[in-house]
Amino acid sequence: MTPSTSARATVAPTARLPTAEPSDEVPTGLAPPRRRPSVALFLLGRVVNALWPLALILVAWWAWVRLGHLPPAVAPDPSGVLTFIAHDPGSFALDALRTAGVVLGGLVVGAVAGALLATVSWFSRLARAVISGPALLSQCLPVATISPVLAKVFGYNTTTIVIITALIAFFPVMVFTASGLARTPAGADDLFVVLGARRLDRFFRLAVPSALPRLLVSLRVSIVVAVAGAMLAQWVMGTSGLGYRLIIAQSSFRTSEAWACSVVSIVLSVILYSIVSGLCRLASERFE
């Protein structure tokens, strides 16, 4: 039977129901929209919020060195390290920037790869079986052992370090996204069956929106492991960046410089995490 319009024509204004004002059903959430702080203020707040634990660490570190009477060659105190950084801030900023570039590049490549692998797994049970084994295995291989191999294959350059970072960063994204794609709202799977939805529609209109909150969470996990991975890869392979500078300083017994690299990398990690998680929160607020 073809859809008839004659039936619709009978829905005259008289068919309007006495419910235009649902008095007994008070909508619960239609309060005036919350005011949103600007993105910059929001991010600043996040950064401040993330930095106070660092201050705590600095105090504890200072107390440890001073009370233990440790010589600077073993463990420099915070003031010494901070003075060292202040002495040459430009070079540390440059190294931090190089490392940050590698981290973000690895995060983007890894997140895209992770999301794609989760997508392929959603569409094909066979693909899921094929992917899950090697994906898990890739996480069991220490960076220290796979880095030289990958360096042999891709060369001793930044690209290889980005690849190593991506290799570490993709896994949380893949796992969270795959589980998010399957976590559809109650009854929605049935709904898409009775609506006669095709697979592609089911994916884009149901699975993807369902997965988005978890995908955002996974990025916050990934950024942290990506920083650690990038540092380690630079440390092992040695091209440039904070990790490379750390190993050089360490092997030359320039303890203050080595510790300075560590401090800068921790700060970098916290800042990157704050930015990513702040952006994710903004995105999820817009989304919900």
Partner: protein
Amino acid sequence: MSQVAQVAAVAASRGAPISLAGVGKVYPMRRGRSVEAVRDVGLDIAPGEFLALLGPSGCGKSTLLRMMASLEEPTSGTVTVDGAPPRELAARHRLGVAFQDNALLPWSSVYHNLALPFRVAHRPVDRARIAELIELVGLKGFEDARPRQLSGGMRQRVSIARSIMLEPDLLLLDEPFGALDAVTRRRLNAELQRIWMADPVTTVLVTHDVEEALLLADRVVVLSPRPGRISKIVTVPFDRPRALDVTRSARFHAMVDELTAELDALTGGVDSDE
């Protein structure tokens, strides 16, 4: 028959017929056990008929509905809609279903939830049709609200509006007002009656509420508890619209008593959730 009812009856020839023949459903459980939800149900539903499946909790009435909705396959027997398996109707986007738990997409506004049937069917979104149905279910002004901002009754209205959006050949209602309070429920039933009269298409309503069944349906099918079997079929004689004069009549009350007694006898004094 009154003038109004005759007009409604003329329009009522729309929709797909349903045929259930020897339908049974057995769910396998752990350790080789199984639960028989439905046994040997035979039923023919005419085009444009409003049929209510009435029964206590766990009598398999929802299972029957899910088989008509292509969400379950019968273990034995056949379910056909318009002479074909129900999934063909769904594939042609000619099936409308309102679920008990509304199944609205939480990230979409009322408008976009209502536009979903068009999008999934790859048809241009008919804004006028959506506006018409938003008006019909009394949700004007709530187009941009998210489901969580709406009350339970309003969500069910959206769900009903979505189910009839593409003017389906078959409308399936699975206790659409089951989770609502009595007052809201009564009013939404009156609304549903009007909505249905505006486009009387083949409809199957699952309910455990006797008055709801008698208010809305042409025929009431009473199912026995597990395994679900047809224990009684009652034809409802009242003209539409069935307003207060009908629901307060002695005849209506007599039928309520008759069906309630039937349900009581079926549950045999065992606690049901009514």
